[in-house]
């Protein structure tokens, strides 16, 4: 079944980015590994069409406004704020729709929180805001943060050493995070959570030296993570369910064409979940109906791709019935919780793991586990993967795609994944380190947005660009 994302005509959000990029990502000016995996590069998207308002004006910082916040406060919908090179000790809040905030150079336009300010740029309830081509570092919470928005875009962003997340998208739909980087956060380098359907795309992101490379709690539904690199975190890509946020469960996230490797890093800042998940590449923790395909995953102490349960000891609601999995986030927020007795075990279910290439994942290249639930009832399937080890053994024979799973397919207990032992591992795992002083590699000089000074400002569209998922192939190793 062809799975390219047919999309409506009103796609503007990457018009400038695609034109100005010219697909020239391989010509990076940085010593750091490119975010691009040339052999697996997604084909150029269709020329997008904008339905966003035309640019009204350009506000220059500091030439016209001494601070970014002053410019933001003065901006009207459609305005482009251009920021010259320099260090800005600001926590910027944006509440105006459809403005674009762009640094003239990604590496020299630096928002620095000095370990005192909370967020580099926080977009609260403002739709269509695009953040482009700058660095946010040393913030106590997040580098770049959108919450409660429809339509968002982050391009050529660097988030470095921030106290919660690098790039944090919460309760927001319709957006793209592209050509961006996150390092040094205890939670995740990039996060998209509490949305269904999210209609969101993470493309060409590099996430390293965080607790988690990617985190997505209760997100999904046209939630696409492609062509990205997750390495040297405690754990790589970890979508999960939990009732500590709304809109559960996590479901229908598509993870294709990524490099996920070396996620055993013992010296990162890390929240407790990151320590628990340490040593795993792509780990669905209680997520359902996800698609994990054509990723290259290697060198993990635990699993390469693991489908495991998420144990919630003090939940706020009961498990949603399978028939409720398609309830939109907006509708589910209207429901009142039903307090359960005791802990909840969110099992990973109905997930497809197909055509990935895995090696040197010491516990198992591919794995599925639960704590008390019969694995053949969970509906997860594995097919066409290149791998050596699995848990349980013969996993692709036990759980092929395209046919109902059966208890009689084989021995589901031989070599099974004992996830309970991970709880004990957590107690002896290397503890978190202070994010303010954690050892990080030298901050990379990364590819800046082409033509930043002259490209017109285009507000973020809530409509995703066309991306041909079927055309994405397993990327080659780059390290």
């Amino acid at each position: 079944m062809k799975r390219s994302l047919g999309i409506l005509a009103g796609v503007v959000l990457l018009a400038v980015g695609l034109v100005s990029c010219g697909g020239d990502d391989s010509a990076t000016t940085t010593a750091a590994p490119s975010t691009d995996v040339a052999a697996s590069e997604a084909p150029a998207t269709d020329a997008p069409v904008t339905d966003a308002p035309a640019v009204e004006g350009v506000l220059n910082v500091p030439a016209d406004y001494a601070t970014i916040q002053e410019a933001v406060d003065a901006a009207v919908e459609g305005d482009l704020i251009l920021i010259a090179a320099g260090t800005y000790n600001e926590a910027v809040q944006v509440t105006t729709n459809n403005i674009i905030i762009r640094g003239l150079d990604r590496n020299t336009v630096i928002l620095d929180g000095n370990f005192e300010l909370d967020n580099g740029i926080r977009v609260v309830g403002a739709n269509g805001v695009a953040l482009e081509n700058m660095t946010a570092m040393n913030y106590t919470k997040n580098g770049f943060f959108w919450t409660g928005v429809t339509g968002y875009r982050g391009d050529y962003l660097t988030a470095w050493r921030n106290g919660d997340y690098g790039v944090y998208v919460f309760d927001s739909v319709g957006g793209v995070i592209d050509h961006s980087y996150g390092a040094g956060s205890p939670d995740a380098g990039v996060y998209v959570g509490e949305c269904y359907p999210c209609d969101s795309l993470i493309n060409h992101f590099v996430s390293e030296h965080n607790g988690l490379g990617y985190s997505g709690t209760n997100s999904g539904g046209n939630m696409i993570i492609v062509n990205s690199i997750f390495r040297r975190n405690r754990a790589g890509v970890v979508p999960n369910s939990g009732s500590y946020e709304l809109c559960y469960p996590e479901r229908k996230t598509t993870i294709i064409g990524n490099l996920v490797y070396d996620n055993n890093q013992p010296d990162t800042p890390a929240i407790d979940v990151a320590i628990l998940a340490m040593g795993n590449g792509i780990l669905s923790a209680g997520g359902v109906q996800n698609i994990i395909e054509r990723n290259r995953v290697w060198n993990h102490n635990k699993t390469g791709i693991g489908l495991v349960p998420f144990l919630e000891e003090d939940p706020n609601d009961s498990l949603p019935a399978k028939t409720a999995w398609d309830t939109t986030c907006a509708d589910s927020k209207k429901l009142m919780p039903v307090q359960p007795d005791g802990a909840l075990l969110w099992d990973s279910q109905d997930t497809t793991v197909r055509n990935n290439v895995l090696e040197d994942n010491r516990r198992a290249d591919i794995a599925v586990g639960s704590a008390g639930t019969d694995l053949w009832t969970l509906g997860n399937c594995f097919e066409g993967n290149t791998f050596t080890t699995s848990a349980p053994l013969d996993l692709e024979k036990l759980a092929p795609c395209g046919s109902p799973l059966s208890k009689d397919a084989g021995d589901w207990t031989a070599g099974d994944l004992n996830v309970i032992t991970w709880l004990a591992d957590q107690a002896t795992a290397p503890p978190s380190v202070d994010w303010k002083t954690a050892t990080l590699p030298d901050m990379p000089v990364l590819e800046s947005m082409p033509n930043a000074a002259t490209a017109p400002g285009v507000p973020a569209s809530a409509t995703l660009p066309v991306i041909d998922l079927d055309a994405i192939t397993v990327p080659d190793k780059i390290d």
Binding site: D118, V124, Y244, N316, K333
Partner: protein, 157 residues
């Protein structure tokens, strides 16, 4: 349950101005200078005694659940931080924890309320008796702004 009311009710203009809090949208009449031969009118905030009722609002990451609620004056509201993040509960007119601290230190009226993030970490709870009718808008400054992101409304009748 019958709710007794104070028969002569006028809101103190001084208290409302000085509290600077998310003063409820209850109708109020300020003090007015007496006419010749007329006694001065003093104002106080009318409060309703506790009615013994209590409701709980779950504070999750990053939402209040429920985010909107109607209660009778005299009801105690318990906010429980059941998320994994620190949160605060600020009236809409307050911008941060420091502002709340200043408010609560200077205003002892029942309409001055809220909790700073330092005292509202995961597992913490905060309770307040809402005994003055009105509409109380609040938010978490860490994860929202007034009316956006993480915010809520209590309507006290």
């Amino acid at each position: 349950m019958k709710i007794s009311r104070v028969s002569s009710i006028v809101v103190s203009a001084v208290l409302l101005v000085s509290c600077g809090a998310d003063a409820p949208d209850a109708a109020s009449s300020g003090a007015k200078p007496p006419s010749e031969g007329e006694a001065a009118v003093t104002t106080t905030i009318a409060t309703v005694p506790p009615n013994g009722e209590s409701i709980t609002i779950q504070v999750l990451d990053n939402s209040y659940r429920p985010s909107e609620y109607e209660i009778k004056a005299g009801t105690e509201v318990v906010f429980e931080n059941r998320g994994r993040n620190d949160h605060n509960i600020l009236p809409d007119t307050i911008t941060d924890d420091a502002g709340l601290t200043t408010l609560l230190a200077s205003d002892m009226s029942p309409t001055a309320w809220g909790i700073a993030s330092t005292a509202f970490t995961p597992g913490d709870s905060y309770k307040h008796l809402f005994n003055v009718p009105g509409v109380y808008k609040f938010y978490c400054s860490i994860h929202g702004a007034p009316g956006a992101g993480m915010y809520g409304t209590l309507t006290v009748s």
